[in-house]
């Protein structure tokens, strides 16, 4: 058993990075493989569910459908000035993702001493999971 230490503020023990999954091309998807460093902290199912949900949200943002084509054609006709005053579909979904990450952090990860960083803050390259030092737990 690791000795517990009392810290004024939580200290960072390690950081785990979930890399991108490019098997389907350049669309934004993350690997669902469960990292070994998190084995002691969180349930594998729970973590994979979070990553899967994020992948679905990013797929929704980059979806090619009538909505995106209309947006694209309208933008082209207005010489792309419409982007200056209108929020794009992608940006709307990014807001949804930010809310989801916040909600997951509050409900699931913070109680376990973990912190998810929104991938947009890392250039959509990785999902950064910060593992905090275990404080004295009263069980």
């Amino acid at each position: 058993m690791r000795p517990f230490k009392l810290w004024q503020q939580a200290a960072i023990a390690a950081k785990v990075f979930i890399q991108r999954d490019y098997t389907n091309g350049t669309v934004c998807q993350f690997q669902t493989k469960f990292p070994s460093e998190l084995e002691t902290r969180i349930d594998k199912q729970q973590f994979e569910e979070t990553v899967r949900m994020l992948n679905n949200l990013y797929a929704e943002a980059e979806k090619l459908g009538s909505h995106s084509y209309i947006e694209g054609c309208l933008a082209c006709l207005t010489a792309y000035t419409v982007f200056l005053c209108m929020e794009t579909h992608y940006e709307k979904v990014l807001k949804k993702i930010a809310k989801y990450v916040q909600e997951q952090n509050d409900k699931v990860y913070a109680p376990r001493g973990l912190l998810l960083t929104d991938p947009i803050e890392r250039g959509l390259r990785v999902i950064e999971v910060t593992i905090f030092e275990e404080r004295s737990l009263t069980r």
């Binding site: 950081k15 350049t26 694209g72 982007f83 579909h89």
Partner: protein, 356 residues
């Protein structure tokens, strides 16, 4: 890669200890800086981070100048004559095309082309941990590549020594701007910026509309001179009569630009239809070098219409560099040397975690 010097990540420089956070909070009294002010690439920012251009604006002023001067001459000297003899729609069409061209050009030049932010220290250290390094820290490690499968085809990802990460597929590092750019097409000096994922559609609409504009002006000037010479005078007399021979200048500019612009438009139309970038086409990444091996483009949708829709009408990706975001107090002190931080036992524990 010639300019990059390999620097190994110092694990002690990572993860600032809580004790030092108190020192940093004193600095909160200082003005909060925006992220564009500490951007590591060779770019210039205007309007408090809203507008981004490459460090060397290249020949962008020349491009703008040529377009404005040619159109100015057209409106001043050809339009009055043609409105009288042909139709009033000539300046209207010319005006619409001119506005479209200038807006597309400015959009291409001032938009972030899809710059990837550099890896954070923690991220870079994590990647280095995963790569096998044989040799001491003073020896420059061999070029690193990672092979992945995209749509059942093997693609090699290269490690970028400047940005300290494996480049995503179709990303390339522009040495002029010193940034990794997603879906890198080329660095265009005429536009003064890289052309990448986020501004390719603006670039394409710029060259297409410019082709139309130059062809239109060329046609109108020819019509102007022809109509003048039809009223009994010879061609030379007609040219001499037209105000100060400016239409000749327009003819020359348009004649030379038409060949290059039309050629470029044709080439990019081919690229759009086959979902390729100029970079990939020039390097021949997907051309079948060995007869036996089938190495097609893994990104194509195998339909011209689908490829065009994806490239030009796909969803607009966001800018990843967050130019106008504020730096958090910890981030605004980027290079904190290990000696300044009190990390006696913490560092040892950190090392133990990292090595294990």
């Amino acid at each position: 890669m010639r300019n990059c010097e390999y620097q190994q990540i110092d694990p002690l420089a990572l993860s600032v200890a809580p004790a030092s956070v108190q020192n940093l909070t004193d600095k909160k009294a200082e003005r909060l800086r925006r992220k564009w002010e500490v951007f590591p690439g060779k770019n210039r920012f205007f309007c408090d981070g809203r507008v981004i251009v490459a460090r060397q604006s290249g020949v962008l002023p020349l491009t703008l100048g040529l377009i404005v001067v040619t159109c100015g001459l057209f409106f001043a000297f050809d339009c009055p004559f043609l409105v009288e003899h042909l139709t009033v729609f000539i300046p209207v069409i010319g005006g619409v095309l001119f506005v479209f061209v200038v807006l597309s050009l400015l959009r291409t030049s001032f938009t972030d082309p899809g710059i990837l932010p550099r890896a954070t220290l923690d991220e870079a250290a994590d990647i280095e941990k995963q790569i096998d390094t044989s040799g001491s820290s003073s020896y420059r490690p061999p070029p690193r590549t990672k092979e992945i499968l995209i749509n059942q085809q093997v693609v090699k990802l290269k490690y970028c020594f400047t940005c300290k990460m494996f480049r995503p597929p179709r990303t390339s590092h522009c040495s002029l701007c010193d940034n990794c750019v997603e879906r890198f097409d080329h660095h265009c000096p005429w536009v003064g910026n890289c052309v990448g994922k986020r501004n390719y559609r603006f670039f394409y609409s710029f060259i297409i509309s410019l082709s139309f504009l130059t062809s239109f002006i060329f046609g109108c000037v020819i019509a102007h001179i022809t109509l003048r010479s039809q009223s009994g005078k010879s061609l030379i007399q007609a040219i001499q009569e037209s105000p100060a021979r400016y239409p000749l200048m327009e003819l020359v500019i348009c004649f030379f630009s038409i060949w290059s612009i039309l050629g470029l438009s044709g080439f990019h139309t081919y690229l759009v239809a086959s979902n390729l970038t100029t970079n990939e086409d020039i390097k021949g990444s997907w051309s079948s070098k060995r007869g036996a091996e089938e190495s097609g483009n893994p990104y194509t949708y195998n339909s011209i219409l689908a490829n065009c829709c994806v490239t030009l009408c796909g969803p607009m990706p966001p800018s990843l560099i967050d130019r106008r975001g504020f730096l958090s107090p910890e981030e605004s002190v980027p290079t904190v040397s290990a000696s300044e931080i009190e990390v006696p036992s913490f560092a040892a524990k950190n090392d133990a975690n990292m090595v294990g």
